[in-house]
Symmetry: C2
Amino acid sequence: MKQNIGFIGTGVMGHSIAQHLLNAGHNLHLYTRTRQKAQSLLDSGAIWVDSPAALTQTSDVIFTIVGFPQDVESIYFNTNGLIPHLRPNMVLVDMTTSSPDLARRIAAAAVEQQAIALDAPVSGGDKGAREATLSIMVGGDEPTFKRLLPLLRLLGCNIVYHGPAGSGQHCKLCNQIAITGTMIGLCESLAYARKSGLEPNHVLQSIASGAAGSWSLSNLAPRILNNDFSPGFFVKHFIKDMEIAAASATALNLDTPGLKLALELYQQLAAAGYGDNGTQALYKLYGDV
Amino acid sequence: MKQNIGFIGTGVMGHSIAQHLLNAGHNLHLYTRTRQKAQSLLDSGAIWVDSPAALTQTSDVIFTIVGFPQDVESIYFNTNGLIPHLRPNMVLVDMTTSSPDLARRIAAAAVEQQAIALDAPVSGGDKGAREATLSIMVGGDEPTFKRLLPLLRLLGCNIVYHGPAGSGQHCKLCNQIAITGTMIGLCESLAYARKSGLEPNHVLQSIASGAAGSWSLSNLAPRILNNDFSPGFFVKHFIKDMEIAAASATALNLDTPGLKLALELYQQLAAAGYGDNGTQALYKLYGDV
């Protein structure tokens, strides 16, 4: 059934996600900070609106996927934002990787207006977004999650409900925390390979399919050895995720020395001017390798 | 062609490896510290000898796979060890994960007696040893490596030559360094999942097949959630490997903060009495999770 869907955020991920919703035949109402980035979606039939507030008048479900928690905050809570203009029974779905606290605040604010907000961050990167194979981690009202499943299935293939508002964000942070360690191990391993005079490609041949194997080793190590530090996933966004995770872990009274070390190393990397590189650029910290 | 093969070390890995050599029809001469551990191999036709020195009189190729570098040192360099009794053209193959320096010393000492020593540590664990699917990382004389390939192919399926003596050990250390980071990320991720109130099995469902995916996440996380801390790979052996790697990295003038952190955490774990657990026991450090 054709639905009226709103969409905010047409970065690398958002663009593909919005396109899938359009392709499925839904009416897509679109707002984004830089209209130019939405042009190809508008050319494919998306309808431009001038503010988040305006979206609430034309859409029954609104997806958002932007950069930082402060962007989420302003899209939802500004005078011209979503929350002050919600109509009853609307559903908001934030796919930004953001803070569990903010997700809970948004959900509570939506409920006050007889609407519902889910947090549904994703993993799978630009490729997963393009191929609609994202992993989608959902928190919030469960009946609403179930009602939304047909839409979510247009976007991903591994869709899991994790519990009350904020749970999707918590799960995404688990994902990012696991990656922090793997990235450090990967970069130190390759740096050690080079320093000890090995041919790193032969090392990958020996270790990539065994107990040291990981998605990062298979996908990012070859890029490093090819001197390709272009972003699949930005250093600056990874830092944002680690900051949220570290703050959340502290609030939960959990010590995470590995996450803290990763955050420090990536902050050093950004301070050295590599914030717009891909996360594999961590390798550059390991000296004259 | 039937060969006279010597073998030292019948731990979990060595036992399976020796069995494959026997099964292929070779004469297997066996020495090990605890004869009892070799009994089933002796029952299958292996021939007992009383010392490493005695092995050199009956064998043309000798495999060794023991616990610690000091074990390797005594097996090779003691008065009753291999090196003082080498005959010309013999080949020694140390499969212990040990220090690259020691591998170079052994290779040099072998050459002095017109013999040859390779370092050939493995990964793949008890399962890989049992199923002859080990990854074997070889350093030392390349023509000898090539001559030995038919024997190595009885034991593993991913056999890579890495360069001069010590290179196999260097590659194995790359393997272990990569694992250190992954293990920290994995344990902190699961600890965070529990602390934030998520169902960790659902978290694995969301993250195991994506960018956070790893051999460890797929194979060790389920054991952790099952409260199974039995050793696939011993904490005390992992510490040994990390100590060798950290010392070697320092000698190469490479700073490895992630490896250092992992070593500290695993040393804490061993100090708390968990040295005979599997490496997944690192999870126990993360408080009251």
